[in-house]
């Protein structure tokens, strides 16, 4: 009897699990420490940042905000390493954290090879050629470049047939 009595309410219980459990899985309250005061937390952050800035500035004798040394008599000598940018780069709005860790291709300073040996050779060779021969004039120095008048009509036909080869802008404008 007792078992049957025990079994029955369990079966009854299990059959109704779906709708009965729903109110019990309500969301946990996220506000553990009461309502947030945005103004005060912002103020706290700014104060904290200011504190870090001033202490670090005193430590390194450097104004990190303006990127200049605080005074000339400090224990450190500061020198600018990167080339001074005239135009600051406009960053995309969805700036992700840690982007500064990655090099932007333009910022990478690559060593430029100086080919002073080749330049020397070129100079000597050009001097040689100048000594041996006179400079050659071009035929276009003597004759004016004209448009192909006779071929104009046939060119137009060609351009109609083959749309990939369009007439030049200079031809269109005149």
């Amino acid at each position: 009897m007792s078992t049957s009595l025990y079994c029955n309410p369990l079966g009854h219980f299990l059959s109704k699990t779906g709708p009965q459990f729903k109110p019990e899985t309500r969301k946990v309250k996220r506000s553990l420490f009461g309502p947030i005061d945005h103004v005060s937390s912002q103020k706290f952050l700014e104060e904290e940042l200011e504190r870090i800035r001033t202490t670090q500035s005193e430590k390194w004798n450097f104004d990190f905000q303006h990127e200049v040394p605080l005074s000339q008599r400090g224990g450190f000598q500061w020198k600018s390493v990167a080339p001074i940018k005239i135009k600051p780069r406009k960053r995309p709005i969805n700036d992700f954290e840690g982007q500064d860790l990655y090099a932007i291709p333009d910022d990478v300073i690559r060593p430029t090879p100086i080919r002073f040996m080749q330049e020397k050779e070129e100079v000597t060779s050009s001097q040689k050629s100048h000594q041996n021969s006179k400079p050659q004039r071009l035929i276009t120095d003597f004759m004016p470049v004209k448009k192909r008048s006779s071929s104009d009509c046939s060119k137009k036909i060609a351009s109609i047939e083959r749309p990939s080869k369009l007439p030049r802008l200079s031809e269109l404008s005149s």
Binding site: H130, N132, S133, K134, P135, Q136, R137, L138, I139, T140, D141, F142, M143, P144, V145, K146, K147, R148, S149, S150, S151, C153, S154, K155, I157, A158, E161, R162, K165, R168
Partner: protein
């Protein structure tokens, strides 16, 4: 429809040999009056101008002006497939992008057809100014070819100076110097062998051997060559194509260094 028929394909072969050294490709402008070609070499130092009159062809028909851009090496390949005494017919439709060369053998019943793709070339056209030349020299074309070939062994450029006495071709280089003088011939028995100088003013100009050598590839076309010179003007080397037209080469001179 364009159609031009010539009983001797050899003439076309010679013309191609004469220009394919300087030009890789060229536009053939076909009109009622004939076929014309004008093109500069790659370095823009020389200019080739070819005129083939319609009267010179055995049959000529050109309904509409037509420009055919052709690769000269390919064209030369096709003409190498023909015998010298074959009859050649050049055919093209008005709106086609190919040209057909038909060769008919004289002795046997043999007809060969070669179709070649045309190119759409965008070449500059130069206005050749009318010039009164100070010196016009006519001489055997073989002689001119020989002189240019000989002198180009010694230097990169040839100085051509024309005076009343005659024409002097000279050059100098690492080995030394070379001079060839030819005087006007007095006997006019054989027109092909005589040297004639029509001179208003003496002229001395310097030209690059390389181009002159390329010009002499036209020597098989005709026994006489005509050189026209004026101070500070391109040299004109002209070869007449018997009954058909002419082939002219223009070459810009080299200038004195003192001018700069």
């Amino acid at each position: 429809m364009f159609e031009a028929r010539l009983t001797q394909s050899a003439i076309f072969k010679k013309v191609l040999d004469a220009i394919k050294d300087l030009l890789n490709e060229a536009s053939f402008d076909c009109s009622e009056s004939g076929i014309q070609l004008q093109a500069m070499d790659n370095s823009h130092v020389s200019l080739v101008s070819l005129t083939l009159k319609s009267d010179g062809f055995d049959k000529y028909r050109c309904d509409r002006n037509l420009t055919m851009g052709m690769n000269l090496a390919s064209m030369s390949k096709i003409f190498k497939c023909s015998s010298n005494d074959d009859t050649v017919t050049i055919k093209a439709q008005d709106d086609a992008d190919t040209v057909t060369f038909m060769f008919e053998a004289k002795k046997q019943d043999k007809i060969s057809d070669y179709e070649m793709k045309l190119m759409n070339l965008d070449q500059e056209h130069l206005g050749i100014p009318e010039t009164e030349f100070s010196c016009v020299i006519k001489m055997p074309s073989g002689e001119f070819a020989r002189i240019v070939k000989d002198l180009s062994q010694f230097g990169e450029s040839i100085v051509i100076s024309c005076t009343k006495e005659g024409v002097k071709f000279s050059t100098s280089g690492d080995i030394g110097s070379a001079n060839v003088k030819i005087a006007q011939t007095s006997n006019f028995d054989k027109e092909e062998e005589c040297v004639s100088i029509d001179m208003q003013e003496p002229v001395t100009l310097t030209f690059a051997c390389q181009y002159l050598n390329s010009f002499t590839k036209a020597t098989p076309l005709t026994p006489v060559v005509q050189l026209s010179m004026s101070d500070n003007v391109p040299l004109v080397v002209e070869y007449q194509i018997p009954d058909l037209g002419h082939l002219r080469y223009y070459l810009a001179p080299k200038i004195e260094e003192d001018e700069n």
